[in-house]
Amino acid sequence: MPQPLEGLRVLEIGNFVSAPYCGKLFSGYGADVIKIEPPGGDVSRTHGPFKDGVPNPETSALFLYLNTGKRSVELPLDEPAGRDAFLRLVETADVVIENFRPADLRALGLTYDDLSAVNPRVTLVSITPFGQQGPYADYRGNNLTTFAMAGQMYITGTDDGGPLKNGGYQADYQGGLNGFSAAMLGVLAAERDATGQHIDVSVQHCMAPILEAGIPYYSYLGRWNRGRRGNHMASFIGIYPCADGHLGIHIMPRNWKPFTDAIDRPDLFEDPRFVTQADRTVHNDELMAEFYAWAATENKHELYERAGKMRAPIAFVHTMQDLLESPQLNARGFLTTIAHPVAGEATYPGPPWWIGPDGWSAGRAPLLGEHTEQVLRDVAGLSSAATEGVAGGRP
């Protein structure tokens, strides 16, 4: 069975996280993804964490993870020869992914009009903090500022601690996933109509509407709860420290019985203060005190397994070690080992979603410029002499 994206050629001229994550998904599900890196490489190569903590453009965990299965071409898009070579690649491409500031893309002369002039079937996917138009379109943005401008930051953290970004590059990943979903719609339309288009993904626009009921309550009812709720939506939905980590409970009305059974606290089930969800809300602080005391002595793995079998909604905060050792992820084959000539072997997450046993492939990330000559010769059709003039960046 062929992979679902077999036969697609994708060019990625994006840097750092959002566009590369989009490109990674294309690659994993079977497309031929050519990553164009500026001379010196994608900026994520300079970000750690590095293998053994030693900076090396080939051992950044961020770069290794986000660029699995791609080919790397080192090409200066801001020089005429580099731009020309890129446009020859565009002639053969189905999709181009980019995350430049719109003004910077215009300065490169690589707007949708420029690309469609050489290949009207190409789909250009632009993933930017604010989108292509509007008053902030050319404002500078990154993961932190986008998380703030999209509303997710204000509601994360505590009132006292102030708004909090969550871990890693979540705004960028959201941009990458949204870009990929939008791009797939573009692929279907292009294959149907034999015509491409420009897809404009504003990360702010993707992120702002998804604050649970926040937007509908405000927009429809005029209700807005100022502030942040830390680790607890309520006593019965939240995170509690335990003996060797942190537990996460999420009790809906139907789970109260299995929950009190799993933690062996029939007294809580019988307690008239805690009979219904409304009762538990009224006596929130008393219940929270009970949960803090209960959780403190629990062991996360043991409890999780016991509660899971009893259908009690108790999870635990998985560390990276817990993920690596997870019986579930290992049983499903979600974790894969990938060898890299410089970084060595490492464990990588597998397919974000599963579409058949052969749906996903996991190749290693490329070395910087590893495929420059091959791609310029075989794909762009440049002679070796011409390739030499372009490859390797500036003289």
Binding site: L144, T145, P163, V201, P216, I239, W353
Partner: protein, 413 residues
Amino acid sequence: MTAPLHGLRVVDLTMVWAGPFGTRMLGDYGAEVIKVESPRQWDLLRGLGLIPRDVPRWYNRSGYFNHNNRDKYGFALDLSNETGREVLLKLCEVSDVIVENYRADVMDKLGLDYDTVRGRNPNIIYVSMPGHGKTGPEKDFVAYGTNVEQLAGLVSISGYEGEGPMKTGFSYGDPMAGTALVAAVAMAVRKRNRTGEGSYVEVAQRENLTAFVGEYLVDYSMNRELRAPAGNRHPHIAPHNCYRSAGDDAWLTIACEDDDQFRALCTVIGRPELADDERFSTGAARKANEAELDAIIEAWTAERGHYEAMHILQRAGVPAGAVLTIPELMSDPQLRSREAWVAQTHPDAGTWEMESPPWLLSRTPGHIRLPAPGFGEHNSYVLREVLHFDEQTIARLYAEGVTADDPDEGLHR
């Protein structure tokens, strides 16, 4: 131009947030989505709208439901009933996609597993969206909204510096699974266009979100070191933080990625000499002295409104972003200029603003074509025009309670 998913019929059994958010986007971009709810067990978001129970058809007025279920048809069908299940299979025969987000064992127990559905429609695209996946020792464990990011490893790396893990302010795994659903369905459609074959697709919510912290897993597997939560700071970029602004609980983020941006920041805040100060003149120096630097920056931001400071800084080329609240998002000039919020009218709920389809496809744009369905609103359309049932059959389905135009509210008050 014809929408990208025009002509695709989707049977939607999903409830609450992840599934309905995803199938709504399928509808936004052209699919015909038929949302199936039981007369006795509707989508519980209908009950989470803060609507008083004495309002007529209060269950059609939940904003939370109506935002996540527009661009769908509503069909009432009881799947706990054998006749109801047979109707569903007939619906699958004339559909392209079925999506469900029940716990891993439910569809199997109902006799609506992939093999059964494929037996009725060999080319069906069957999508499950379980928390843990349909296999593995934890497949039947309960995983609700807040649990997914805990299971995905994200919470362990989130939190204030020097403190314990902190949850994201909303059930983050849900909309990410819904967003992934669109890609997963589109991929399966492409495969079917090319091979003529359907697919079984599984969006395991914890795995989809684990992919958002992949670099931490790769790092741990190489270095065996756990990274502690770092608050709003960055491992090596400084300044990179959230600063107090003038006003009540008002905040501004600033993240300078290079020396030029930092120099511009110093000029804006009236301290140009800092750019050449050895404590701050290089990225490494700024990171080493960031607490001191943050205090200097906050002295400036605290005197100004967050939007004002953002615009001043951005004009000088400094990446700065105001921490926007929900009311501010709904009036933000950028989101307004993009028409991110658009007024829509619903026959029971009235007129208000909701989010537009998020991705702008220049040639084949998404549209809001339908308000969210009232309970059972399109029973007639589905029974007569999609399934082509005769009147006698339809009357029997109503008489047996397999379908209904009004829900049994008693169970939901």
